[in-house]
């Protein structure tokens, strides 16, 4: 289980780069094929539903996720759509209420990874020289440690809790984000319009923020959706291991963990939250691909 959940950031970004090459060819087909558009719409709708659940869970269910509302370990039925857990709480309500925590934590992780990665990549790519060397060796160290292990180390240092888990997961994406941005910055830095800005009297910060950053950030933004889904996965993994949300707070990873003792008798307790996680990750990946196709199509123009 942990093996599948342990998502190595380096390999994730590696496959992203590999599929990037196909994506040019794929985008041509995508223009014709309506099925890819349909996938994208379904994914977007799923994420939208989750966002609504995160903001206003009571729209979906009036049931309190912390109250015992029925018999224990009851299979899915009309009364309890996803069944009930070991102490008779409504699993549907717990999944819905867990959306806010899971998505919020994933958002924090993405923002942490994006901000730190952007700063490191921008500075390393633009300054070059020893600054670049130091920052890139630092990211090499981050990349050398398996993602989940790195997150665990950070959680232990920061303390348990959802926000700390989110920060720890965010740290694992810093290195690959920084590398992606750095390579783009290197390309843009030597472009004529950047030199034209310098010759026009722009200061270093202005050149960086107005000319270099906007022209180098788009591949990183396409990765954000991918980051988002891998963050959900990693956070769930850490919660599953018990470092994240503490009971009785509903969190998707924790829900899966709670059900694992009853896998033989109450399959729904692990399977349904697990399916929700899987669907969310799939939707995120699909949207990421759609965005990067959009990026290459825009770049070609």
């Amino acid at each position: 289980m942990t093996e599948t959940l342990a998502l190595d950031r380096a390999s994730a970004s590696g496959t992203a780069a590999a599929t990037d090459a196909d994506s040019a060819a794929r985008s041509r087909r995508a223009a014709r094929g309506a099925s890819t558009v349909r996938d994208l719409v379904v994914s977007a709708v799923w994420i939208l539903v989750l966002l609504v659940a995160a903001v206003a869970p009571t729209l979906f269910t009036p049931v309190d996720p912390l109250e015992t509302t029925g018999p224990v370990r009851q299979a899915p039925s009309f009364a309890h759509l996803f069944g009930t857990d070991a102490i008779g709480r409504d699993l549907f309500s717990r999944v819905v209420h867990g959306a806010g925590l899971s998505l919020g934590a994933a958002a924090i992780a993405v923002v942490v990874g994006l901000l730190a990665g952007t700063v490191i990549g921008l500075v390393a790519g633009y300054r070059g020289g020893w600054v670049d060397a130091v920052l890139m060796r630092f990211t090499d160290v981050l990349l050398a440690i398996p993602g989940l292990l790195l997150s665990l180390a950070f959680v232990v240092a920061l303390g348990f809790g959802t926000v700390n888990v989110a920060i720890a997961v965010g740290v694992t994406s810093v290195a690959s984000n920084a590398r992606v941005l750095r390579s783009e910055v290197l390309r843009v830095r030597s472009s004529v319009y950047v030199e034209a800005a310098v010759a026009g009297g722009a200061g270093r910060l202005r050149v960086l923020l107005r000319h270099v950053l906007p022209n180098s950030i788009s591949p990183l933004l396409a990765l954000v959706a991918l980051d988002f889904s891998s963050a959900i996965l990693a956070i769930s993994a850490l919660s599953f291991l018990g470092y994240g949300a503490q009971p009785p707070t509903p969190e998707w990873g924790a829900l899966v963990a709670n059900g694992r003792d009853f896998l033989a008798t109450a399959w729904w307790m692990t399977t349904i939250p697990g399916l929700v996680i899987a669907l969310t990750v799939l939707a995120g990946n699909r949207i990421s691909r759609g965005l990067s196709n959009l990026g290459t199509a825009g770049g070609a123009r």
């Binding site: 472009s191 004529v192 319009y193 030199e195 034209a196 800005a197 310098v198 010759a199 026009g200 009297g201 722009a202 200061g203 202005r206 107005r210 000319h211 906007p214 022209n215 123009r301």
Partner: protein, 557 residues
């Protein structure tokens, strides 16, 4: 007539090419008909977007997949549209050779030169694997490459642009084809290299008895190298005839405008510069050299890793006047301009601007200097930030140096748009929505925004069509007469330099070999290198008078 038909090698009838886009079918070529006789040399001339390259690409089937082709193309009596797959490929490279436009991207970077030439021979089974490399060396030698055995083992990045173009010619002619289609084979090269390569191409096609279809934007080249000229405009054939007829007595207004726009060494009737000054009634005393130069560079030296790119260059630019730096690529003219712009730090020497030594300025004071020296780059497709609107691009220097507030800088940008002849509607558009000439106008407007005293024009018109080039040159001359800005004009094109400059400095291998007033240097060149440069200008004579009859004599001989 029947005699002519019999020797006809290539015949194109009613060729129509459109590109299927989201906005519908965009027509690139609208019914072109032409023919190439066996042993004939046909030049296709036109501006960008005239469909000349599309026509060439249609013959060798290198069009983009969204192209729709109509009409017939017959090669040696055979309808090419009937050929599929292997049947057509057996023709390509074997009977029809193709020389692509850009030598920097047209060779495979991970294969040796020899392998790439040999590939044509092995594909068409003209040689087996053992003999192919030997034949490739021979083909390279015929294309005029020095030390062909060595070059055959090298990779494309180890060769200069001119050598790479020769390799492409060697590949096209390796199989001794009957027809060679050359798509702007020398546009990216210096004039002297261009002349040598075109000479080589001529000699080689003559040797193998091939016909040529030469695509070019340069009427001078067409007049010198072809015995028939086709003039294309907006996808249609507007004029066809011998060079003497087309250049001497052009019938179509487009051909006439093309001839008129070609920059000329002939200055009867004045240059862009003198005409603009007359219009603005700039008194000759205003343009006479002032006692103190605006910018004086003394003994500039720039070394890159021990190689001297600029070697003891001294120039002076007067206020309100234009100094041109000319020379081939690698002569150090762009590096000199970058030193003067203070984008590079000189290894030795000093730069004095308006009486102040600016060689070592840094930080805020350097940025204040940028207010007074601005630059326009060669490639308008690369020099504008694609994310900014045109208005923002033009106002950017003002905002960078905090001149005025947001409102006033936008206002200034609108005024500048009008001054460089762009519609007010361009203000909110992106650079990608404008044509090359329009973008160069934007770059000029940006350079003018701070009201600088000196503008460095680094090959600013080299990437443009002759007609657009003429418009931009006129604009530059007008702006100088109006605002009194001085220009440092970097160019490899001497005819353009003749039209726009007061003084000229000729650079070679980082050194100034000759300098002085443009009329003196061009009228009575002292240095052999200057003479060589002047002689290499294609169609030097044909712009001022009819093409020299000895060209056609030489060809028929």
């Amino acid at each position: 007539m029947t005699d002519e038909e019999r020797t006809e090698l290539l015949r194109v009838d009613d060729l129509r090419i459109g590109y299927r886009t989201r906005g519908g079918l965009v027509e690139a070529v609208r019914g072109i008909g032409c023919s190439v006789a066996a042993g004939g040399r046909v030049a296709v001339v036109g501006g960008s977007g005239s469909g000349k390259s599309t026509t060439a690409a249609a013959i060798v089937r290198l069009l983009a997949p969204n192209a729709a082709v109509g009409g017939t193309i017959r090669f040696d009596g055979e309808d090419l549209s009937g050929l599929r797959g292997a049947a057509f490929r057996s023709l390509l490279g074997r009977r029809i050779g193709y020389v692509p436009q850009d030598p920097t991207v047209s060779l495979n970077p991970v294969k040796t030169i020899g392998q790439q030439v040999a590939e044509v021979l092995t594909i068409h089974k003209l040689a087996d694997r053992r003999t192919a490399l030997l034949d490739a060396v021979e083909a390279l030698e015929r294309a005029g490459i020095d030390r062909p055995e060595l070059r055959a083992r090298q990779y494309p990045h180890q060769l200069s642009g001119g050598q790479r173009q020769r390799v492409l010619i060697a590949i096209a002619l390796a199989a001794r084809p009957a027809l060679v289609i050359a798509d702007e084979p020398t546009s990216a090269l210096d004039v002297t290299v261009q002349r040598r390569i075109l000479d080589q191409l001529d000699a080689l096609t003559e040797e193998v008895g091939a016909s040529t279809l030469l695509i070019t934007h340069d009427l001078g080249i067409a007049a010198e190298r072809a015995d028939r000229i086709l003039v294309l405009s907006e996808g249609a054939l507007v004029e066809e005839g011998t060079p003497d007829a087309v250049l001497g007595d052009p019938q179509h207004p487009y051909t006439r405008s093309l001839i008129a726009a070609a920059p000329s060494l002939n200055t009867t009737g004045g240059t862009f510069l003198t005409r603009a000054r007359e219009r603005h009634a700039v008194a000759p005393t205003d343009t006479a050299p002032a006692p103190e130069a605006l910018l004086r560079a003394d003994g500039l030296v720039k070394e890159f890793g021990g190689v001297r790119a600029v070697d003891d260059v001294s120039v002076a630019i007067e206020r309100r006047r234009t100094l041109a730096l000319v020379g081939e690529s690698g002569s150090g003219k762009t590096t000199t301009s970058r030193l003067i712009l203070r984008l590079e730090q000189p290894t030795a020497g000093r730069i004095v601007f308006d009486g102040e030594d600016v060689t070592a300025l840094a930080g805020g004071r350097l940025r204040q200097l940028r207010r007074r020296i601005q630059v326009v780059y060669q490639n308008p497709y690369a020099s504008l930030n694609p994310r900014l609107s045109i208005g923002d691009v033009i106002a950017e220097p003002l905002r960078s140096l905090r001149v005025g507030d947001r409102r006033s800088s936008a206002e200034r940008a609108r005024v500048l748009l009008d001054e460089v002849g762009l519609p007010a509607g361009a203000f909110d558009r992106r650079p990608a929505e404008l044509s090359g000439g329009q973008r160069q106008r934007v770059a000029i407007a940006r350079a003018l925004a701070l009201r600088p005293e000196l503008i460095v024009l680094d090959e600013a018109v080299s990437a443009l069509d002759v007609r657009v080039q003429a418009q931009i040159l006129q604009l530059l001359a007008e702006l100088q007469a109006e605002h009194g800005v001085a220009y440092l004009f970097i160019s490899h094109d001497l005819a353009v330099v003749r039209q726009i400059s007061d003084e000229v400095a000729v650079l070679r291998a980082g050194r100034v070999v000759e300098a002085g007033p443009v009329a003196t240097v061009f009228g009575d060149p002292q240095h052999p290198y200057t003479r060589d440069l002047l002689e290499a200008i294609p169609g030097r004579d044909s712009h001022s008078r009819l093409p020299d009859p000895h060209h056609s004599i030489r060809r028929t001989a």
